[in-house]
Assembly symmetry: C2
Homo-oligomer: 253 residues x 2
């Protein structure tokens, strides 16, 4: 009996934005290990399986339990929302295997990360180079996070902010970005993309605080670069075609 570990991303949480491989991995699994909320998102797939849930801040516990079950010969899916790379379970699981010299059979099943899910709801904000930054300072010092915010602003990256749960830190980050970008720079705020309680707001760098009420752990924010604009209620970052071509619809060039 040979165990296997699937490190699986569920995507934003709606069944249509799952990958086929994600569903297949869960179907093949004996054991599902997930943060309590994410276990609910895949409730339709886990009938008859052993489901082990754990609270936030228990990522290492989840990695440990998953690995122990694989050592017992079980096929295990260790669940992240979005993609398991991006602030998800892939790194803690691989670190735990490495530091314990374990050579287990594993497969990482990628998923649609929150940046992409939020962007799809906002328009096309991520068409140019972007930086993904988590504002969670549980594991990373706030000053290190803000240093990266400053460098991303200096580089005119579109900036994706994950986990904007620490309000003072978020305000400092937005203040830094505002030193480099115009007050009317579009800011997209997406909460619970593709879920029932989805909220999508497009505001800007001078006005975003009016929407602080919807910003929490499951909110993703996207700050446009110097060329991002809004049109027909959508946020658009030009890829650069306007620098060389025109957008006329009714010619044949």
């Amino acid at each position: 009996m040979k165990g296997k570990l699937f490190i699986v991303g569920t995507g934003p949480g709606a069944p249509p934005i799952r990958t086929f491989r994600m569903v297949e991995a869960i179907k093949q699994s004996d054991v599902i290990v997930a943060y309590t909320t994410y276990a609910k998102l895949i409730g339709d797939l886990v009938d008859g399986k052993e489901v082990i849930t754990a609270r936030m801040k228990e990522e290492l516990y989840r990695a440990k339990v998953a690995i122990q079950k694989v050592q017992e010969g079980k096929v295990v899916s260790l669940i992240s929302s979005g993609d398991p790379q991006v602030y998800g379970m892939a790194s803690p699981a691989l670190e735990m295997m490495c530091k314990n010299n374990l050579d287990l059979d594993f497969e990482i099943v990628p998923g649609v990360t929150a940046a992409l899910a939020a962007a799809a709801k906002l328009g096309s904000p991520l068409a140019m180079d972007f930086a993904s930054i988590s504002l969670s300072d549980l594991l990373v010092p706030a000053e290190e996070i803000l240093h990266r915010v400053k460098k991303a602003a200096e580089g005119d990256f579109v900036i994706v902010l994950y986990n904007p749960i620490n309000k003072p830190l978020l305000e400092r980050a937005m203040a830094i970005i505002s030193e480099y970008r115009k007050p009317e720079t579009p800011v997209g705020i997406v909460k619970s993309a593709y879920r029932e309680d989805e909220q999508v707001i497009i505001t800007n760098l001078s006005d975003w605080k009016r929407h602080e009420g919807i910003i929490n752990m499951i909110t993703t924010m996207i700050v446009g670069n110097s060329r991002t604009y809004t049109c027909n209620g959508k946020m658009i970052t030009p890829r650069g075609y306007d620098r060389r071509y025109n957008f006329e619809l009714n010619n044949d060039s």
Copy 2:
């Protein structure tokens, strides 16, 4: 008869890493508009449909044709590989609708972008803040691209390089990164992730040039940050748990 435009990401190209919504969108479509190579990746889904292909550098032509078909009342899928945000068709399509004052029914269907697909094959390189940079200088001046490379290096971002097709530009980018990171910093090179001819290499900043032969337009490169290491042939970027916890497997804390 009311047309609709799906702006669809296929993921890396293998059926298992498609989303359900992507398959549904294509099934609902009368017309598929795609870059020639990507049309082949979805060949199993397009039987009986009108398929309009076009070469690279014809993104605006593809956007225009797709929009014109929607205006004729057709349901159209405009295809990108990966995710349609990330250097894909979402931005040119939305720009074209905006600049021609068109209020068409459209939906963006997100997908697993190349950064996530490559990362899944490499281990867990994207566990910390990362910057996505395209090295294509067709639409963006090389100096602007290199400025962003420098800022990403200064911010100690994990750096994902898309489209490393311009070899001199790639060499300049890697030289800039090397000013900020140790020679042994891991570098992942993934060509054709999840396709038949997939190649996955983990090298480092001093050695990457030995693998220049496999670097082309469909290669994605991921340069680790200052804490990224390799273990059991995988590239791991610590999320930061090691700063506060230990990875012991056999205790119950």
